[in-house]
Symmetry: none
Subunit: 223 residues, 4 copies
């Protein structure tokens, strides 16, 4: 047996393997035997380190959330940019996070599954995962509409924007069948495709919101 390398001990390997298996199979379908196999751990390792399957799942969600936040560029929008640029950046980065592969993608899959069959993890997501990205989006949209971020209309527009991004994540299996050339073997989208989609969503959304901006005096002339 080789000596343990820090950060690669059984518990961590379990966490990594579980993230993959849970993302692929969902909570209920995932087999702890699979997870242990992939983590090269004993079948009882999950129980020893996490108590039970569900606690492992929660730990995975939490870990993925933290890792995801660590590399979530759409959370760091340049404050001095114009709102249009901000929206463009946000959409580009949000789409990128969804359509590449990485912790955020896994977390996305887990969240999508939680919507279909909620577990205790959904509460965590509603409380910890959604608010940050929702907040950023509302800030940008509020600025665009000259409204406070809490305004109902801002909420509606944020939904419209996020949904246009998420659909490419949700329908990946269909795209894989109808447009396989757009998707890489590792199931990620090509950066060029992502950029193209981002551009469309940005244009569609910017114009979609133009008519909704409050007609205040300080809006630029011509609209």
């Amino acid at each position: 047996m080789p000596s343990y390398q820090p950060g690669s001990d059984t518990r961590n390997r379990l966490l990594v393997a579980a993230a993959e298996v849970f993302a692929e199979q969902g909570f209920r379908h995932a087999r702890v035997s699979d997870i242990c196999l992939r983590a090269q751990a004993n079948i009882a390792a999950v129980n020893y380190h996490f108590g039970d399957k569900e606690s492992l799942y929660l730990a995975v969600v939490q870990k993925l959330d933290e890792e995801s936040k660590a590399d979530a560029p759409y959370m760091q929008i340049e404050p001095n940019a114009s709102p249009e640029e901000k929206l463009n950046t946000f959409i580009r980065e949000f789409l990128g996070v969804l359509l590449k592969t990485g912790p955020s993608t896994w977390l996305g899959k887990l969240m999508a599954r939680e919507m279909m069959e909620p577990t205790a993890a959904l509460d965590y997501m509603i409380e910890k995962v959604i608010p940050p990205v929702d907040g950023v989006a509302r800030g940008i949209v509020g600025e665009l509409l000259s409204m406070p971020p809490e305004a109902p209309l801002v909420q509606l527009c944020v939904s419209s924007i996020l949904s246009q991004c998420m659909i490419y994540f949700d329908t990946k299996e269909i795209a894989l069948r109808m447009r396989p050339e757009l998707i890489n073997p590792d199931r990620s989208y090509d950066p060029a495709t992502i950029a193209f989609l981002a551009e469309h969503v940005t244009q569609f959304s910017l114009h979609g919101m133009q008519s909704m901006a409050v007609p205040v005096a300080d809006m630029p002339a011509g609209k």
Copy 2:
């Protein structure tokens, strides 16, 4: 043993019960014992009538698709209306189908699950379920953009429009937790709420597409 009543025999009851259970639980989680119980049929009835669980599932998808088409108002758009009216009608009806309860909703749930873990049914859906609604949407958008329905830009806009509707279906579990007052006990949305959402999506989309229409001159200054 009572004699059989045509149209309400075991096979049909099985189909009806299975539709409900599959929609609620998904293919893998659904238990054939539950289905048989709900159909007041013997535990062996599924295997007897359909061979195995998956064949029953396929039969259910097919049946749901047929029933769904039978009452899908968004497929019958008034041909003489203006394209804007057509889009408004389409969105209102599509949202209605997604957010009420009925065969279409069940099929929607099944499709959403197929996106996460595809089975043989996904191919059926890609071939039979999606094209009709996609075709209608592309017709309307093509008309609005003065483009042929096959144009890539039309495809992108259709995605943008459909996604804005589908998000309210996908995030129902979140809405249930954050805005429970919007959702009825039977998990359907209130007609007024649906109408309100449809109005927003229509406005957002109509303006979102305005800038994209050909062959008009470049958009007016300011962009």
Copy 3:
């Protein structure tokens, strides 16, 4: 496969095997695999026929109770006999039931275990198993003491009598080690030994209660 003989089908075999195993091992130690093995049934048979281990256990208790009542001679005391004779008969039969082998012995073992680690079955026993024998004993003792069966003193004396019988059941393992000649290979006591013990308990108890009888006028002279 031979055709089924009524009364010896899987469910019944399971019940019989479970009675033995539960009596030998107690509820928790008993393995359903052992039970199924002994019943020549599949490992899933318990779940199929009874739902789970505990329901099987409850069914066993109930069945044993019924069988036990079917051959419980101490419940049928000759009404015209003198109270002394009644007590003698009761003790002799009660001891016999405890120290031979049969449904009552198994039920006795189960009850003894329930006292140490109660399950839902204890409630059944308190409600259904104990009252009948307690009632008979109180009737006899009440007659002997010229008191109503509900009198606290009657209760105390019944406890004293029953305990003297039960100790030979409870300490069978010790007797097996210290006086092996008294116990048959099938773990039952010899009828002669039982008769001898019954005689002692009767004498001890009759005299034990003599001083406690109420000194009413209608007691026969000489006492």
Copy 4:
């Protein structure tokens, strides 16, 4: 790591914790993890200090026996008292030991379990635990009956006496359900209740034995 305090080291804490857990759960149900937890010791401590679970159990039985003998008042009967007084004292003290809580009670529970599923500890008990109390009881009864302690009749009467005490220990779970007011929250009986029961058992037994005493003439008329 703090330095060891003599008399409170891991091994002793283990012994104390194990006594409690074994008494509560029995040998097989007791979990070494529980014992280690309660002893604030490592999960491997039992195997390290005692080899395995059963050796720990044996050590516990031995320790409990020693402690029990150290505070067993019924073993120290006043030699000059009348035999009736001696019996009264013995019963009162024996009942007290059984129905309070302490090392003797724990040992009692362990013995009761050994009767149901004997382990190696039963041999120890037969050899070391039972003889002393049996001897005292036989001495008193022998004196009352004017017989040698080894006489079979003495043995029978001792059984009758001890059983009347033990039943209140054995049926504690039933009493807890039918007469909860008699039992304290810590599962011990009230001293007043114990005294009352002791009085009854003494009277019942003294009279029960009267007729058996030799070499007096036949019991007076009436029987």
